[in-house]
């Protein structure tokens, strides 16, 4: 397996803000890699440095064995980039837009139209880009990033602002793109999206990569913590703690946020029996740890999307 992206110790400072503080990453060829973190974590700046849009203050980056900075015309046809904002030309239709982008890579109309078809926009080919819905614009923007068949694709929060149905449709498309052998680097602040799509993720906060690994492996590292939650007000957190202690149920946290009383534990059985004895099972939910718990564990604070 060859390496698609290598980043080594990249740093970038804007005035007083250290936006990226020593990020190192390796993404293998064919991998679906996620860059996770809340807004302001440094994902976008990291992505821009990887793409070669910004120069890092320190560190080095290689894409497909080539340096992206300064602008490298040999590399550009091999990478595809999609941004959060849809960067389209004024007053063109979807078809005219993708054909224009295709022409930059010496690609003709037929292949361009084929991509319109693949993202499900052939029906809307004559719609002006400023009249398209958020989901349509997002799909067109992805098609424009893929029109030249790049080996390495960067996607910046591609599903932000989409309704759940459109999001799922887009996930299918992204999985297909990756299945065809393209390396995909995706930034997202939706942890569920990363769990569904990514082979590996890097969790970022404050400009640093806190942890890198397969989503399932990161969750497993949490010692298989299970979250049990019931409606708030059935039993106080304090009383629950006493009962768990006397029943010998090992819990790592008991919290009442006014809506839910939630208990984090490795062994849910004794916790459940204590709650059953107290007749405090209304609204019961038991769920395994997720990337959100990983994030909470890594940063010590709630994940804020």
């Amino acid at each position: 397996m060859t390496t698609a992206i290598t980043a080594d110790g990249i740093r970038k400072r804007y005035g007083d803000v250290q936006a990226v503080d020593g990020v190192s990453l390796t993404v293998e060829s064919g991998e679906f890699f996620g860059l996770l973190g809340p807004n302001g974590a440094g994902k976008t700046t990291t992505l821009e440095i990887l793409e070669g849009i910004r120069e890092p203050d320190e560190g080095r980056v290689e894409l497909l064995g080539l340096r992206p900075w300064p602008r490298n015309p040999k590399l550009l046809p091999r990478i595809g980039v999609q941004f959060q904002a849809s960067a389209f030309f004024d007053r063109l239709t979807a078809r005219e837009t993708i054909r224009t982008f295709a022409s930059f890579y010496g690609i003709g109309h037929r292949r361009a139209d084929h991509w319109l078809d693949r993202v499900g926009l052939s029906e809307s080919a004559s719609v002006a880009t400023d009249k398209m819905s958020g989901g349509q614009a997002q799909r067109l923007s992805i098609a424009c990033a893929l029109v030249h068949d790049p080996e390495l694709v960067f996607l910046d929060e591609p599903t932000t602002g989409l309704d759940p149905q459109a999001r799922r449709n887009l996930w299918d498309l992204l999985r297909d793109i990756n299945a065809e052998g393209r390396t995909v680097l995706l930034t997202t602040h939706y942890l569920d999206e990363a769990e569904v799509l990514c082979d590996r993720v890097a969790v970022m906060d404050h400009g640093k990569v806190l942890r890198t690994g397969a989503p399932a492996a990161l969750v497993r590292e949490l010692d298989d913590t299970v979250r049990v939650s019931v409606e708030s007000g059935l039993i106080t957190a304090e009383r629950a703690r006493e009962l768990f202690a006397s029943a010998g149920a090992e819990v790592s946290a008991v919290e009442d946020n006014g809506v839910l009383l939630s208990v984090a534990t490795r062994l849910p059985a004794p916790v459940l029996s204590v709650l059953a004895e107290q007749n405090a099972l209304r609204g019961l939910e038991v769920r395994g740890a997720t990337l959100e718990d990983v994030f909470l564990h890594l940063t010590g604070r709630e994940y804020r999307a």
Binding site: G52, P73, K74, P77, F88, F89, F104, G108, R110, R111
Partner: protein, 374 residues
């Protein structure tokens, strides 16, 4: 751009003629956007033309200062003018009999008449005028003065010792359409070029289209070149439409021999104006800001460059100051080649100046240029 093997393969499955270079397709995109943008079409083509039509009609009758005089009672000197002299007098003076002095005065005050004339004692002719329009007041006095002079001279019974032989030199004085056409055309070209360069730079940067282009194997030359091409085509469209309208019999512009020199002149000027737009587009962060900055430049430049009226009567310092504006060179040189029989030598210095201006400002824009918002 780079012709790697798989690239060449993938190019073969399309029919020839379907593929275009980045330069061609960017040019097409910008031209299509221009044609679909009603506001741009209005401001670059329709509005200047409306101004030409409006000003053309407004100033059409204003060439000879015709004055209206109210005459009260009999005025011997005026009444005695007969024959050819009478016809000559009628060309510059309309005399209306008004029954009494009070009514006549009232009408002069209101501006219905430029002056009133009545017989004074001892052969005196009394003229009373309003100072509101000094040019007309002066005109009335000059005309009446000359009538009285010639009457006096005739009264002596001698042939006049000195006579004035007046004949017009071809087109030394500009008729309105002759300065309106190059002036408004210059203004239109300046507005179109400055705005198109500046706004496409700002909006492409803001929409991240510049970033997208930077991440595609598109050369900066293709981006800049296509913008220059499209703006030059638009400027030539403006020129063609202006000349077509101005030479219709209604406006009656007569083009002189070397009028086609306006084409290279307009092209040089378009480059100069685009360079202004590149600078403002590099400075401005939003379209609104770019709009404001451009207007602040275009309006004074147009007035001070003689785009709306000739500068001949303006103060010396203002005429000196106008030398900094590229529009001045375009307007004067276009006047020269379009209507005054000017040749290549009359507009070469202007073209050189415009290109030099473009070079300096483009260099500045190059320094200020940003791909991204800071």
């Amino acid at each position: 751009m780079s012709a790697t093997a798989p690239e060449t393969d993938r190019r073969t499955d399309d029919a020839p003629g379907e593929k275009a270079s980045a330069f061609v397709s960017l040019s097409r995109v910008m031209f299509v956007a221009f044609l679909r943008d009603r506001a741009a079409l209005f401001f670059t083509l329709a509005l200047p033309l409306m101004f030409l039509v409006l000003f053309g009609f407004l100033f059409k009758g204003a060439t000879s200062p015709h004055v209206k005089v109210a005459q009260v009672g009999q005025v011997a000197v005026l009444d005695s003018v007969r024959g050819d002299e009478r016809a000559g007098l009628d060309q510059v003076l309309t005399i209306t009999q008004v029954p009494d002095e009070a009514t006549a005065l009232q009408k002069v005050r209101k501006g219905d008449f430029d002056a009133l004339v009545e017989q004074g004692p001892n052969g005196q002719v009394v003229v009373r005028y309003s100072a509101a329009d000094q040019v007309r007041a002066g005109g009335v006095q000059a005309v009446l003065q000359s009538v009285i002079q010639s009457a006096n001279q005739q009264a002596t019974g001698q042939p006049p010792k000195y006579t004035l032989a007046a004949s017009q030199v071809e087109d030394q004085s500009l008729k309105p359409i002759q300065y309106l056409t190059p002036g408004l055309l210059g203004w239109a070209v300046a507005t179109g070029a400055i705005f198109s360069a500046s706004l496409s730079l700002v909006s492409w940067r803001k929409k991240r289209l510049l970033r997208r282009l930077r991440l595609a194997p598109v050369s900066v030359g293709s981006i800049v070149g296509s913008r220059v091409l499209v703006t030059c085509v638009v400027a030539l469209m403006q020129t063609a439409i202006f000349l077509l309208v101005a030479t219709t019999p209604v406006f009656g512009l007569k083009l002189t021999g070397n009028w086609w020199l306006v084409v290279p002149l307009v092209l040089c000027a378009t480059l100069a104006f685009m360079s202004i737009g590149l600078v403002t587009g590099a400075i401005a962060k939003t379209e609104e800001a770019a709009n404001g900055i451009n207007q602040v430049i275009i309006l004074p430049m147009s007035f001070l460059s003689g785009a709306f009226f000739p500068l001949d009567n303006s103060p010396q310092w203002l005429q000196q100051f106008s030398h900094v504006f590229p529009l001045r060179y375009l307007v004067l040189a276009a006047q020269s080649v379009l209507t005054r029989g000017g040749g290549l030598l009359d507009c070469l210095p202007a073209m050189g100046g415009l290109l030099a201006f473009a070079a300096v400002l483009t260099a500045l824009a190059w320094r200020l240029f940003r791909w991204e918002d800071a």
